[in-house]
Structure formats: C-alpha cells, structure tokens
Symmetry: C2
Subunit: 267 residues, 2 copies
C-alpha cells in the first residue's frame, strides 16, 4: 500500500527536493524524473523508480496505477501526496502528476559494446543541460547506442537535462571519460571519429561514413580543442548560408546524426 505524506517538513520531502542540487545527487547517486510520459518511457525501458510520488487526485489514472503497482512489486517506496508538494519537488509552475527517484546510471567505457549501434554520440565540455538532454533525445531517435561525455560536461541527471531528454536518459547508455582514455578505448576497436568543426571546408554530406560512427560535438562557445580535432578521422561542417558561423550544439548534432542515419538507410 502506498503511504501518505502531506507535510512539507517531512524529512523525505526535504531529501528528495535536495536532489535538484548536483551535490546531493552525487552524494546519493539518485536523480529526479518528472511526468507521466517520461516515467512511462522509463518503465518501458525496464527502469522503475526507487521512490514514486503521485498526487492523490491522479490515483485513478491508468498509467499512475500501473506505475504504482509495478514500483511496489519491485520493492520501491510509493508515496501518495498533494499537488503542492509535487510542485515543491519539481519546481515547475504546473506540477507534474508523478515524480520518480531513480539511481544514476553511468557505465564505464569498457562496458559499451560498440557493435550494438551504428551511431554513438560524443560530447565534449557541453555546458547547457537542455542541449545535453536534447542530444540524448536525438540519440534515441537515430538509434544511437549512447552518449559519451568527455571532459567536464554538465550533469546529465540535472532536472533540466532529464526533462529535455524526454525519457531518452533511460534508453541511451551514458559514459564519461577523459579524452586520452576515450581515444585509447576508441582505437582499441573499429570506429570512425567524426568531428564537426568550423575549421574545415569539408562538407558534411561529402564523405561516405563508416560504421560504427562516433559523432563528436564540442563545447557550445569554444568548439573542439585543436588537439582533439587532430585526433579525429575526419572533420566536417554543415553549410552555413547566413550571417552566423555556427549552429546550436544540439541542432548541429542532430543534422549530422540524421546524415549518418540516412546514409545507413541507403546502404
């Protein structure tokens, strides 16, 4: 049976709310995901929350009922609460119907099986959580195997990144690595490292890319460090017809990722 919490000063509420801060997420190894759509996608991908909060008013919603039953059966903690507390947990104007607390899952590079997907995305020093989540969502869409975060990227488990990922956080594998370790791992097997860069005239549609392709995207304002570009097998750029010299990082990743997918579709 779900237990009920309606008091703002309840220690569990305070603890869960603290997961909005990176420091507390890293200490607990837990993160927040919000909304029926994302929690349902997580369940489909095989992930149930350690804690599930839902508003009393939505207890009869079929997806809520399903999540409650599944979470209880898996030994999770299910808490019925009030919209104001969901609002406090989520920080959103319109509180979500459900909020789940999940264990963070970062896999080591050596645990990635590169043969499982034709496309892998590699992000370097990405700063914007919305971009990171959007890149995960795009990765899911193009059938990528996962996202490798190089150097100091923003936390993929931030509330904003989880929201932007729309559930892809649960379907895409996430690894972190320093650059030398990534390159050593990459070169230990097949794989073409493709850098998107402003320092080339090589059109992104000209090459016939290899598989698995590792699509490398750099920091939003700096791009890739020159030494990383040298480590790439190929540097390409998207045509830019206007005044600006670059695309948004998540947009550039998507345009390039769909080119890879389209080439694979034509094989």
């Amino acid at each position: 049976m779900p237990r009920e919490i309606t008091g703002f000063s309840n220690p569990l509420i305070k603890r869960v709310r603290s997961l909005r801060d990176k420091k507390h997420r890293k200490r607990e190894g837990l993160f927040l995901a919000e909304g029926l759509r994302i929690l349902a996608e997580a369940e489909e991908a095989g992930f149930l929350p350690e804690m599930l909060f839902y508003a009393r008013e939505s207890a009869d919603h079929p997806i809520v009922k399903r999540l409650v039953t599944a979470t209880e059966e898996a030994g999770g903690d299910v808490i019925e609460t009030i919209p104001d507390i969901l609002h406090k947990l989520s920080g959103k104007e319109n509180p979500q119907t459900v909020i789940g607390v999940y264990p963070e899952r970062i896999v080591p590079l050596r645990a990635l099986d590169r043969s499982q997907a034709d496309i892998w995305i590699v992000a370097q020093s990405l700063r914007d959580p919305g971009n990171l989540g959007t890149i995960l969502r795009t990765g899911d869409a193009v059938g990528a195997g996962g996202l490798i975060l190089v150097d100091d990227c923003v936390d993929p488990f931030s509330v904003e990144s989880v929201r932007a990922s729309m559930g892809a956080l649960f379907t895409q594998k996430i690894a972190t690595a320093r650059w030398p370790d990534f390159i050593a791992w990459l070169r230990s097997g097949p794989g073409q490292l493709i850098g998107t860069s402003l320092n080339t005239d090589h059109d992104y549609q000209a090459p016939r890319y290899e598989s698995p392709a590792f699509l490398l995207v750099g920091n939003e304002s700096q791009g890739l460090p020159p030494s990383y570009e040298k480590d790439c097998d190929i540097l390409v750029k998207m045509p830019m017809m206007g005044k600006a010299d670059s695309l948004n990082a998540a947009v550039a990743t998507a345009v390039m990722a769909y080119e890879l997918l389209n080439q694979n579709r034509r094989r």
Copy 2:
C-alpha cells in the same frame, strides 16, 4: 560623449531592467540584446541600439569602441556603467560586456517578399523561448527568409529567445499571423506548405520539395492541429529508430530545413 550611470536606483536602469518582462517590452516596443557577439551581428545586419550600456572596464575593447561610436553617430544613447549594473540588467551570472536596447521589429505578412528565399519557417503555438531562438538561428544558417509565428507563440523578443538566436533575430524577418490569414496570404502566391507530423508515414527524404518551401512546425507537446495538417500540401516525418516518437521542435525544424537546403544545393 557617453554619459555615466552607476546608481542602481537610476530611473533609466529600472526602465531598461523592466524590459525583461513581456508586458513592459510590449508597452515600450523595445527589447534587450546582450553580449559583444550578438550586438556585433546586429550592427553587421544594419541595426544599432537605441541605448547602449557597456562596462567602464571594457571601454577600450575594439568592438565596444566601434559600437559606441556607431551608436552615438546614429543618435543613440550611450551609457558607461559598472559590471554590477550590467548584471542587474541581464540577470546572468556572468554579466555581459555590453547590453543594447533595440526596437522590436515585427513585419506584416504582406511585407514579406517570398521570392527572396527558398525556405521560410512557420511556427505554430511554440512555447519555449529557447526553441524559438534556436529556430531563428537555424533559419539564418539555411538561408531562410524569415520566421512566421502563427497563433500564440512565445515572445521572440524575450531575453532567452534573443540569446538562443545568437543574433539571427536581426537577420531573420519575423511576422505574426492567425492561421486563416496566413493561409490566405500563402495561397495568394507560389509556395509549398510542408508539415512535420507524426500522423503520416511519408518519409521526409522522399519528396522533391518545391521552392519557396514553407516549413511548418507545431507546438512542442501537441504538434499541429488536425485542421492545420489538412491545409498542408504535404505531411512528412523523420524516421524514429528508438523508443521516443518525436524530436525536440527546434531539432525537427533543423533536420527538415537542412533537407530542404540540401535538395536546393543539388538542383
């Protein structure tokens, strides 16, 4: 000569800060743009601010000097101030070096010359200012003529949208229209209306698109209303290989816009 304002309670500072609110922007017809890169792009596109704020510490920066001279010559108000005030105006952790106040520019539909570009972007009930700004930036990149905002879209002149546009707000024409007026204008001349939709199996790479192409993107969570989809000449969708059924709105727009650009490049 620039005048100096260093007091937080100065009425001009309060007035400019109020432009962070939509209500005040609409009352004054003015908006804020921040940062050397965006202000320099605005200048290149022929737009100088009515008011220019810069930090005393950066008075010798060559772009700041150029902007100060040009703004003064154009009769604008140039104000030297302190970083804390720039921080207050921008609301950003790291205050920008320069902040400009510009007149909002919305053009009527009838003022758009559709023959000037092969691609036009149409957004319907877009809610996220970051998406709107990113779509403007992508529009600039693919050489689009402008962005037509249909129904109740988020304000393109919000601080977040201006930031995400990276200056494209100054190079892309922006029009607003209700749907019936847009359709009437569209059908008064050549143009193919292309809807991205989940309600079709028509692959986005299958058609040979016409020019000018009007690329229609719907609301982030609802997509396009069914009656709007019926008004489209063609509905297409991007392949989705994963668990998710849709892309981020700005990403979908970019993938589709680059397909249009690529077809035009091959003509």
